[in-house]
Symmetry: C2
Subunit: 467 residues, 2 copies
């Protein structure tokens, strides 16, 4: 077990701040701490101090004073990793942070790998694997929905659902195995009708979790929205209008975390990624150039296609545009929102047959706005939010956001379908048991009851150092 080393890392963001926190965890955390820290008051050893207490003092590199710091003590097993931990809050000069880290290494600690503290928390049973993964998701969360889902998962919401599923399956398998023990007597402890009912329930449950991934993924990575339409339909005005509505929420967060390649706008706690497209010129029915081809290609990646039309255009032109885009999108997985812009420029709204045109189309709606005058912008943002069902989040339901979990759930789902078939066709108990064990295996990989070093390595390497 790697918990024999004492590890250390800078846990706060890189760069200069008022303070920085350096964390050290492991058997020798107090011993190494005593070598470098001299408390301002009575010179007690760190292990003699109360758990969860903070002490002012000076860090010394032998006789040289390095910095005045606050040291907080956490005692095993009541700490994040389950080990002895000290956290040193020093002055936030990068130079001092580095010197202090190097000093701890010189005195016997080792630099922590990315996510190694959380990995130890997992290995020491302080959290399961899906909770550990949620820690990284929480740190990376850039909007309200992502934060909520990650926090819920970190607090064990997902784990308890999975554990309920596993328990029900374990009960199932124990009955089947009992039958196998008495196989010569041809008894049936597990009532096949009840089992079928249970398997159906579990299958529905897994399906729900798997389906939640499209929402979870959208929450985590942002929902791709392609704005298409004639170049003069007001695309940039629309984007600016949306940005203005939400600037207070967006600006402070994005500048610090990522370069804007696309316009991302946070609406109602959800991030929408607006994909840049060239204008579509619908000259009769012919695609004219590569730019337009590219637009269609980008449109196909979007979850929402926002078709912007100009209210001052002729009815024919508008209808052509709608029909054109309608023919290009996949109504099963893409939402179409027709946005009739510039209604401030016309005296009376045309009675466009848009709603009628869209009626046979699933997942489609129409909004009439003026981006320039900020008319009906809230209707548009509501339509955007309606395309994703945030109800699951509001109800505190479990939403799967992690591709690894999604894969494991899908594999478990395949297994449960085989169980269902097996039950229908009346296959023997040992085959049934084998399929159920496979389901249990996949569910176990999510929470980490079953894990390999390779899987763990892949998970934790994406963490930041110091967590």
């Amino acid at each position: 077990m790697m918990t024999e080393d004492t590890i250390c890392a800078i846990s706060t963001a890189p760069g200069m701040g008022a303070i920085a926190v350096i964390r050290m965890a492991g058997d020798k955390a107090f011993e190494i701490g005593d070598k470098v820290f001299r408390p301002a008051g009575k010179a007690k050893k760190l292990h003699e101090q109360n758990a969860n207490s903070t002490h002012f003092g000076t860090i010394y590199d032998d006789d040289k004073d390095l910095d005045e710091v606050l040291v907080t003590i956490f005692k095993a097993p009541h700490s994040f990793t389950g080990e002895d931990i000290i956290e040193i809050a020093c002055h936030g000069a990068p130079y001092i942070q580095q010197q202090l880290l190097q000093l701890l290494v010189k005195k016997g600690a080792r630099m922590a790998r990315p996510g190694e503290f959380t990995q130890r928390a997992f290995l020491n049973g302080k959290m399961d694997l899906s909770q550990a993964e949620a820690v990284a998701d929480l740190i990376a969360s850039e909007n309200e929905a992502a934060r909520r889902v990650a926090l819920q998962q970190m607090r064990g919401g997902f784990s308890s659902e999975l554990s309920t599923l596993r328990e029900r399956l374990l009960w199932f398998i124990s009955l089947i195995e009992l039958e196998l023990d008495f196989s010569e007597e041809d008894v049936e402890f597990a009532n096949r009708d009840e089992l079928t009912k249970l398997v159906n329930e579990i299958e529905a449950h897994l399906s729900r979790l798997i389906n939640s991934f499209s929402l979870g993924n959208a929450i985590k990575n942002g929902i791709p929205v392609a704005i298409v339409g004639h170049t003069n339909a007001g695309k940039s005005t629309l984007l600016n209008a949306l940005l203005n509505e939400e600037r207070a929420i967006v600006s402070e967060i994005h500048g610090t975390t990522r370069d804007a390649i696309e316009d991302t706008i946070n609406i109602g706690g959800v991030t929408f990624r607006f994909i840049d497209t060239a204008g579509i010129r619908t000259t009769a029915d012919k695609i004219e150039n590569l730019g337009i081809k590219l637009t269609y290609s980008k449109m196909s990646q979007a979850a929402i296609v926002l078709l912007l039309v100009d209210a001052t255009d002729s009815q024919q032109k508008i209808c052509d545009a709608i029909n054109n885009v309608k023919s290009k999108i996949d109504a099963e997985r893409q939402h179409l929102i027709v946005v009739v812009n510039k209604i401030d420029l016309i005296d009376q709204p045309q009675s466009l047959p848009i709603t009628a045109m869209l009626t046979p189309q699933k997942n489609s709606s129409v909004v009439t706005i003026s981006a320039k005058k900020h008319v009906n912008m809230d209707q548009l943002t509501n339509e955007l939010l309606k395309t994703i069902s945030l109800q699951a989040i509001d109800n505190n339901e479990v939403v799967v956001t992690n591709a690894r979990h999604h894969e494991a759930l899908s594999n478990a789902h395949e297994g449960i379908l085989r169980v269902k078939e097996g039950l229908a066709s009346g296959i023997s108990g040992d085959f049934l048991a084998q399929d159920i064990r496979e389901v249990l295996h996949y569910l176990g990989t999510i929470t980490g009851q079953i894990s390999t070093d390779e899987v763990l390595g892949n998970i934790f390497k994406n963490f930041c150092i110091g967590k």
Copy 2:
């Protein structure tokens, strides 16, 4: 007094980290803390908890859970600012940091101004002004010397020197003022010979402090070094060689704190700023173009001029180069180091009369190296370090690094010279007392015994937020 507000700020570096720390200080710190924090264990109020204790729990925005955090409690007056303080260590997502900060503001705190925590520490008598300024210097320190000087100042080294000076002057002035009370009787309580001795001592002391500023400033801002010489003398090889020797120290620090405009190299804990210059072509005696003029202009800004010559060149060419540069530098304030490079390319060192050429020149020396083969590089770095007297730092003497202090000390010094003159010319006690009071005034502005809102505003506006 501004300490009636409760203030809050993110104290760790901006951006994403494993954790971030939000600090809240003021009368309502615990009250606001109780509104948002629910501890995991027994639901004690924060003021009922022990001082300097850390508590795990959840931050709630009314009914919505925002994050799981650690809250550390510091109770007035035993805290950094002297007020009640709580520090919230949350997950380091910028989004969560912002949400938490906004929540504290919603519940009654105010966003702190830059340096406002330290300003309160000063106003509440936890530290004097020079110590408060040292906090900012410590956070900005990029090398060992800067860190040491700042830490010494923060821990009160400077303050105690100044307070000794002030005490001696106060004793002086009290005797003079006693004389004034008895002025009609023409008594002399203050022995003028002893006073003259004391004033001389103080004058010498102030002179030493003022002179230390050239070192202090160099430590704080880096020591400007101009490398000049023929373009083929090996300038970039030399810079690379210096960088290689020290890369371990330099690389981790600089990338995180500033864009490299010049090459800065940390040697022996001191930062040297190598100023880029065009090569100097000494064709007979004529300056040929603007590039060379610019080189001379940059050379004049340098504290050290490093003249690189090529050992394979003719003796005449080398001597010309030395004479040329010698004539351009100010020997009073600039050091000249002649670096004879490429000694690996010659069989026998030429017996160059360099030392003789430099002999009448103050502050000059010669080193023979091969930058390419790393021969004698340590001699060169020693010569660079010798140009600044680090003895003061090694002896833990007070080094003035702050331009404001330098100005106040210079003003105090002018005052003490007037006192000295006055004593020599036997002016009356009331004039003497006036000059001494001026000296006391200037010394008082350094430690902040005398300060204006404007001065404080100028000092603290340059702090980072959260300190």
